[in-house]
Symmetry: D2
Subunit: 511 residues, 4 copies
């Protein structure tokens, strides 16, 4: 994952919402739950964080705070205090470019409309944003940011007919929005005492629901909790934070579904269909890299998928070696899967310096040559004189793995076989992932022909697209099966978006 990190290949956002279910005002501290929920989604966005809570009254009073940096920086004690009277609320954590002026792009956005204030938090990227912007501006609306979230807000505010209605029909507006733009968005819209949780028809970005178990039950033996004992509901990009707030995983929001969350429970209001024949298109890179390994998508744990990727890789590309190891930490499940399938011992060969961070050294020639090695130390005893299979989760540009291979060789590795637990990235993403330009991607460059020599490895093999799909879809393919998949037709469990690997986008792109 080092290359992902260095290249800024990353998810754009995480969203989290909470509604207290008891009599309002409850004792449940909604802002605290959302803060911890955002901390658990921190890997999805580390540049800013925001929370808006509501007292749920009519008209509601909104409390809002946004800040730059990690959740712990963005929410100092006095900020949490501001938010403490909420009965429901939504939060957001986000990547963006640096600069304090970017605070204006932080979500959730709050906007006043003719029918009251709404707050919006959004993960994803609208494929037809340019067209929609024109449309909105043609109506005489000015747009003050380049963010999709402002655009979504103005689209929701604009939806005609405005004047005829006595009461706003927010669901009709959300459905109208979903008709205008097919993907990609997982969306939370808070209005008065309700949160609408929305996932685009292709289900490109994840979103799931959880139930807050009363603390009296948390202490006990666990076990089943009747719905009478629900203290509240949460909605989150990923389920990984649920344990840390005493919530139980409930279910995913389905592609195209609009779920209403209120103190009375969760209710499906509508499921907007895809065009006939179009499969769903959940981003396969959520499995490969973005999601936390303990999250659950489509009924399976991300960790297990990654482990199966490693096993699949061992089937597709075995190596005549003595030990299997990992580039810590994200490649470890794949490395363990590889070792297991290959019947080789798993050992650690690299020790990571947790504190490297950003030192402000303008390196002279000497130090520049040492390169990335300063992040790792070699655990020499575990591999000196041996043939090593080193599993990484990706090689995107190739310049962070080279110094690691050199480090291992200098410390005595006889051979270094690189096995990459995902296929090479070759195409841009227009649905919310920041990917380098085509020219920067190693798979599109001439060096790719001789990549092993280029990076100094004994051999290099990537996982096949079919192998990845097989691993995601629950099984590990034998070589024969894999050939079948290659020849073969669509996914078994439901489609996944593999556009960055294959160039096949889930919808036609319009500009």
């Amino acid at each position: 994952a080092m290359e992902f990190e260095e290249l800024g290949i990353r998810e754009e956002c995480g969203v989290f919402g909470c509604v207290a279910a008891g009599e309002w005002p409850t004792e449940l501290e909604v802002a605290q739950v959302i803060t911890l929920g955002l901390v658990a989604l921190q890997h999805r966005g580390q540049e800013s964080a925001g929370i808006v809570t509501s007292n749920g009254a009519s008209p509601p009073v909104y409390y809002s705070h946004k800040g730059m940096g990690l959740v712990s920086n963005a929410f100092p004690p006095e900020a949490l205090q501001k938010l403490e009277y909420g009965n429901l609320g939504i939060g957001h954590t986000r990547y963006s470019t640096t600069g304090i002026s970017e605070l204006q792009n932080c979500q959730p956005f709050v906007v006043e409309t003719l029918h009251g204030k709404i707050a919006v938090a959004h993960n994803g990227e609208l494929v037809n944003a340019q067209k929609l912007r024109k449309q909105v501006m043609r109506h005489g609306v000015g747009l003050s940011t380049s963010s999709d979230s402002e655009l979504i807000m103005q689209l929701l505010a604009l939806t005609p007919p405005m004047e005829e209605l006595d009461t706003p029909d927010w669901v009709a507006r959300i459905k109208n929005l979903m008709t205008e733009t097919p993907t990609s968005y997982s969306l939370l819209v808070m209005h008065q005492d309700v949160i609408y949780a929305v996932r685009d028809p292709y289900g490109n970005r994840p979103l799931c629901l959880g139930r807050l178990v009363p603390s009296s039950r948390l202490q006990g033996a666990g076990g089943e909790t009747g719905s009478a004992e629900t203290e509240g509901w949460v909605v989150s990009s990923e389920s990984c934070g649920f344990q840390s707030i005493g919530a139980r995983y409930y279910r995913e929001v389905l592609p195209g579904e609009i779920v209403q969350i209120s103190k009375h429970g969760v209710k499906t209001l509508s499921v907007v269909p895809r065009p006939e024949g179009d499969p769903p298109a959940f981003c396969i890179f959520e499995y490969v890299y973005f999601a936390r390994p303990d999250s659950i998508f489509e009924g399976q744990m991300v960790y297990s998928v990654r482990q199966r990727c490693g096993r699949q890789l061992a089937i597709e590309a075995p190596a005549d070696a003595d030990v299997v190891s990992t580039v810590p930490e994200s490649a470890t499940p794949a490395a363990l899967g590889f070792a297991q399938q290959a019947g080789l011992p798993y050992v650690e060969v690299l020790c990571k310096n947790r504190y490297v961070g950003r030192t402000f050294i303008q390196p002279n020639t000497r130090l520049r040559q040492l390169g990335v090695a300063k992040k790792f130390g070699a655990l020499t005893d575990n591999f000196a004189g041996k043939r090593v299979v080193l599993v990484d989760d990706s090689i995107v540009r190739g310049n962070t793995i080279s110094p690691i291979i050199r480090l291992l060789r200098e410390a005595g590795a006889k051979e270094v076989h690189i096995r990459v637990a995902s296929p090479p990235i070759r195409f841009p993403c227009y649905m919310g992932i920041n990917i380098p330009t085509k020219e920067e991607l190693i798979a599109n460059r001439p060096e790719f022909e001789n990549i092993a020599r280029y990076i100094g490895a004994t051999s290099v093999v990537y996982l096949s697209v079919e192998g990845l799909v097989a691993a995601v879809q629950g099984g590990v393919a034998s070589r024969e099966e894999k050939d079948a998949v290659i020849g073969g037709k669509a996914s078994r469990k439901g489609g996944h978006c593999t556009a960055c690997l294959t160039g096949k986008y889930p919808v036609e792109l319009e500009w």
Copy 2:
């Protein structure tokens, strides 16, 4: 002015713009000029600052930076670098409540419309903002802040007909805006290679133009500079900064005037009239307190007006005393005027500790009793045993002058006559000035009857409204003349808004 400061009675904003007049790109560093211009307007807003520059191309590229705090904090070197390629630009400095999330309210606002991006900076407060907000929202626009500036932007973006026009007619839109809202605003709108400088029909907020003299002339003997030698144009809330950037005062923007500023010079595009019979309504408190003393309004220096207020006060309310002094620093011109008129020696009696700032002492009883005295030391030798006239520019609530009087008495003053160089504030302002609630204003409270006893002074007299108007309008009234004014007819030079003193607002207020 201490009470003004402590009560937060203050101007809301300052605006500044600059257009280079040579061949583009010029050598004139527009962002530097605007930064210095904002520094000179710092007294009009110390909580945030922002600048947007444009390369003036078609379509233009905009550079923008905003930051919290004083201009010097908000514009670190790297921020100035971002802005350095501009040929024209506008800036803004502003008061607001604290909190980082307020950065989103910082001006100038930039908004993308169907016909390109515009940037807007605004000083003032729309008297009919609530009505206009409803109107905009009824059209289906969401408003994300409570600021008038966003409202102005959306009104400009919205003005129909949007679709029919091939090219935008920004002047028509600005005129339309001015029809919708009579006051109060001084406005800069940047579009492409032009800045539109706009002052509301009542001229409630100041705005003036200046010409940048080539630096070769600055070094020389000064003298006249032909227009051929103009290096650029500036527009500013006040003229006080012109000398610091090498500019020469040119003229005021007139009430209702739309001035176009481009590299070709300044041009009046339109003058929107007031309703028949309505006089202009320039805020009289700009003279009393807000403006810097070296600024010029209506052809006269603010310092001179304040000095005349002091002279007028000496005529209206003479005191049998030995010396005249000031509460430093803003009351000094009035004190000198008083001394001059009264034929009494002017001395300093108070020494201000420039460094007091905000110490985080939670004072116990003992220290709380010492109160504001920690900001001043007594210059005992200058007044011990004497009868002192102490001129202040205002007494709003009465609790900052008391410790000063006690300080002087303890140090040996025989009598302390307080003379206030402005009339008592009694009414709220709806045109951009932050004023305490009516109940907090001493003039609306029973203590006002015996104010001298209440604050511990020998005597207390405020300047009359008529006296203030006379001083502003160029002369000092004798007692007889003053009576004439009181009985009397309108201002000579043109009307001024005295609403906070008299309750007479320049337009009918609608909610």
Copy 3:
């Protein structure tokens, strides 16, 4: 004073101490009193501040906090809380070069010795520091800073005989220290429940005592307070802060005096004499520039001395002019004195922008030429077409007054006569004042011959040394008297150090 500020000519430090006089622990919050005391001494040091309090028990518990920047920055609420249990304490405010590592040089210093911990705060500079450092190091002591304060501490710790004594005789040690080094120091030494206040035999740096009046008396009519009602004692570099903490000026610590301050009162323990025939040498620049105008030295208010300097200057160097004015703010008393003596009207001609601060503009040629003018605006109406006498308190290098003169001339001044209310600085100071190198001082350069032309003034005259001495010593000299002084013998009231003006140092300098 602008040149003083820009050249960094400044006092090195201020010291402040407080002892509660009631039963311990008292209700008097000693740390708060010291904090306010340091705020009042802020002009003597703005780079760091420190306070050490003691519970006065045996052995004592010390609480200490130091921080960078102004007192308000250095003492956040949590820092004041740390200190709150003290019954006595000392504080210090200081200039130094920038850099966080300089925190280690912040005073007060606390040191553990064989006979307990002492805390030391010091204003001044030891003339024979180098010799003393060698002496200490020869005894086997390492010195970790270059500060005199560490040296003083080690000298106090070292004083033999160490082992023979059962109890430490700190007074003997302080006397021994005073024998070793003649000047310059005003020193506070806290040990157990006592503060020793020490002034060097030449009295080069100021130090004075005050009495804390019970708050019950502060509210009342003032008047006399018997000693039975003393709530505590304070000791301070200057008396200017006494009013702000409810203290009354008591007296100066005399040159060479060691005063013991405890809860039982103040007591002179010893007065160390100067060598026979040596006059005292109080720094004359405390009057000219360093001290706050409301401070009292030698029985007279600093403000009055400065005013007499202005009168003296009008006698020595009258000008044929229309108005007299000041470079705000420190030259104002001298300007008023000059106007009074000369019988000319005093007006303001410059308006200072309080917010200029440090903007990070790398000025291009154009803006650099505008120079210092950005700090001031011209109050044109007050002097256009007139001949102006502009009184400044100093011209050290000559490059800050030039742009001011140009500003006035461009705004219409017919003539600009510069009168400087102090003599030219020509020599370095070795007793605690930071002065530019000899070559940088305008008085030592060839331009000085034609200084008026050099800075663009109509005429330039400095106050004579004799005139300054006369003004300090209580009178204003007529021309005849002045000649007498010139020819003449020592000061009437007692000697002052004029070394930076005359090169005559109070003691022989050894290196």
Copy 4:
């Protein structure tokens, strides 16, 4: 290691030095090398960092910078620039209590003595510090901090005879110091162009030497580098950073050894012996927890020792279980060793949230009950329905492992067997390790009897002291061997300090 972290059980410091070996001034950027060296020692101290470099001239010029926080915070670019002219230098990274005033305790300390300036960096704690402080103070020296490093400096400065010597004999002084205090210290003393690297006679703290290989060789195939090609020498608490700076491990500094490092190479000046019969006493907790796993002590890699601890634990305390796992990350080598020895599969059961950090939540009852679980997510698929052996490296107080066990049980673990890869801590350390009070240590409390029930585990077993010693000394003991060790004689390779486990201190403690 979570309990170590939460309880603040930690190493006090790391030291690092570098001498360039070429012609001075060299191209080697010594400050950069030291900075990277300190980054690699960051785990030994994260509260402050300091570097002092020297140009090595006579007399030398020293450059110094210290800062709070991680090396990356403490050394911004402008700080590194200050240091850039050095040919040699030493650095230090440190733990301490919070508070800016602690900057004065940051190392390295620089002190001026009669014979020039020395800089000192120190890791360890002098067992007889109190006695030495008295001794120094009796000589008349004041001590301004409570740190051993200041004490060491003054002892070095003091060593008699001071005056007789023309030239300082620093080695004699260091030897004298070593006679005065037996342990514990690893010390770097820089004087002029030399660094003295000193390890106490018991070798309690680590210290090792490395050689900087020319960058030309780094690029090549590696291989041997003759001494002619040495670019410089480094000395460090641990070897883990050597690869990141292009250095090769050379050897350890021996217990009692004084090594002189200069541009001419490294030279043993003296080896101060221990008292007859005393074995060395290298801190065994360096192996257990403090050191980075890729460091080498006594010829073996720390990682391998930890792995052997796991194997030994599997021999001593096998468990009837299905899978073996780790509390990430520090217990992983032991867990892998356990799994290997026990023949059980190694799986991951916990996923760590890297971003938890410090959120400012004042948790209500509900959230407090969730406890530490917010740091971990359960990888359910890997252990649901299974019997888990969970290997941790320590249980000190027992309250961080409990929520983890509950987390695993709630997620479906059938049994949770805790195996602790180190013996229980029972005694305080006086040699540089911060350990909780005896009462806080679980092993000294009644709950220890039923620790499994107390923390909710199926079973709990700690590694035996003998087993730890065996693992450290190179082998893994069978049960029979272990019994022999228990009955048994001393260590094979050399003694280790096990005082915190056994109460047997290497030297008699005097107070």
